[in-house]
Symmetry: C2
Subunit: 326 residues, 2 copies
């Protein structure tokens, strides 16, 4: 395992020599620097968007819909808007009060569906009580559904056909690929079966690498709330890739990880710290696990920035398709 | 384990006292008699269809499309037509030669989509070279896609919403349920990741039992062609439910099964026998595995008849929805 890690470090270091995306100690895991990888991808994306616009094409445009005044939602939307601006994607945020009805919201979405200048529409979740998320997600036209939550896009992902896949799942795949982890026929465990995160990740982990979604060909185990802890440990302990998406702080501990495994932490949990304030942590007990794992993503700075970046990539791809490019 | 099996046998025997659906020896596995369970379900279904028609509703109607002269396909379609007749579902088989073009076939399907007297349309696979199965599967209107292969139905299954799920996956779930196997938080392995069989089964095994598809809440591992045999054995050996859908005769052997496990064999493979003829076998080495497993389906007479039955159930449900019942 160590020789593979060493080789991988060399490869990583060659490929990304300008920025230090990985830490170099062999005593602890290679830290997969999602923030740096995301920034690199955003630069690549900006070049592509610039080249696209230079060919007299329309600049991609993303609309974010924010309902209510949830502070975390505002932060997330803010991150997306800033990322769009940096990449050269036009964006606009439409705010609605908590009192908007489901029907009104759907009407607004339909207008945006029919607006040819709009390429991507995202509705920040969660939505206020009384508005059904699944109805809203399916109100967005599949061709503009850059979150990839629509039934049609989920069906395409399941059938391994090109559509729009959820950004977090794409981000996780990208981190695994860019870290040059061996995947074909290796064991993956995804902890969490949510429809927008855990399950799409499982789909991209297990499916055929030669298929349209370019999946990872891993033997894939889906654990969830009903998986007894001892069983989960049996699975994670024999996994080459562990993806945590349970929303439970510190769920994955050192004793549950095979030496050298790749650990991707999708969890974002706000917990109280000793000073009476709060901080963000993932589902992984980072400090202990990094002593055993071969690769690990931090929280924050791991999957989060990748999700935003893949959302931008989805928007650009949607824009190109909506402008007639296949 | 034995006490649970004994209890289960008692329950099964009480519930299905008239037909002998299960064998009774405790020295070998309970044989899950798919044929008998399918026949029981067909009788239940016939009563429901009769009651539906008695309320002045239209009799459900299924159209089977058969392209070319593949002998196995003819047999499968024949089984479906006979099952339909026995249940009181009208059916019609439309034959096309190998020379039909994809465009012509899609045109024909569109006509059937627009025919209000038709509730279900199935296109027997495989199709001749030159016709893309995925295009044909998505030409059928989702509301009449009783095979459940359309992107929209697959998306609904993935999102755990009511649509039409593939019949084989529904059949496997039904066999597990009717055998009263404990599933919540237990380990399942599905060997095979095909889009029409293995993956839909994984979706119904792992998802939330409280969801619209009433899934089984199992910790679920998907193995496939790239899973090394030793790894597959590790997974099957700790599984409470093993579903084989690989299309490899005798792939699952006795040494790979935990005593008392439930083994569902979806494989249908024609192999040469000693007499120079041929016979159907599954993916399970039945004679050896039945000595270890707690429950096992035979081939033929296990999953096969259930698939046909669930297809009929899908047709009846589609007919009711198409006639305005929710």
């Amino acid at each position: 395992m160590f020789s593979r890690r060493l080789l991988s470090l060399i490869i990583n270091t060659q490929h990304i020599s300008r920025e230090l995306h990985v830490s170099k100690s062999l005593l602890t895991a290679v830290i997969i620097n999602g923030k740096a990888i995301a920034e690199e991808m955003r630069r690549e994306l900006k070049s592509s968007v610039d080249a696209w616009v230079a060919c007299d094409k329309r600049q991609p445009k993303l609309i974010a819909i924010l309902v209510g005044d949830d502070q975390a939602s505002k932060t997330y939307v803010g991150n997306k808007v800033r990322a769009a601006a940096a990449i050269g994607i036009l964006s606009e945020t439409i705010f609605f009060g908590n009192d908007i009805s489901q029907t009104e919201l759907i009407e607004k979405i339909k207008c945006l569906n029919n607006d040819d200048s709009v390429d991507g529409i995202i509705v920040q979740l969660p939505l206020p009580i009384g508005i059904e998320e699944k109805e809203i997600c399916c109100a967005v036209a599949p061709s503009k559904d850059v979150d990839g939550f629509h039934i049609e896009n989920m069906g395409k992902l399941t059938l391994d056909r090109i559509g729009i896949a959820p950004a977090t799942a794409l981000g996780v795949k990208e981190l695994i690929l860019r870290s040059k982890i061996d995947t074909i026929g290796k064991n993956a465990v995804i902890v969490g079966r949510s429809k927008h995160v855990g399950l799409p990740i499982a789909l991209l982990l297990h499916a055929d690498g030669k298929g349209e979604t370019g999946a990872l060909d891993m033997t894939t185990t889906i654990c969830h709330r009903f998986t007894p802890h001892e069983q989960m440990k049996n699975f994670t302990k024999s996994a080459d890739v562990i993806v945590m998406a349970a929303g439970v702080p510190g769920l994955l501990t050192k004793d549950m990880v095979k030496p050298g495994a790749c650990v991707i932490d999708v969890g974002i949990n706000r917990i109280k710290d000793n000073t009476g304030g709060s901080r963000l942590v993932g589902d992984v007990d980072f400090e202990s696990v990094k002593k055993v794992a071969g690769y690990i993503t931090p929280v924050p700075g791991g999957v989060g920035p990748m999700t935003v970046t893949m959302l931008m990539k989805n928007t650009f791809l949607a824009s190109k398709r909506n402008q007639g490019e296949r």
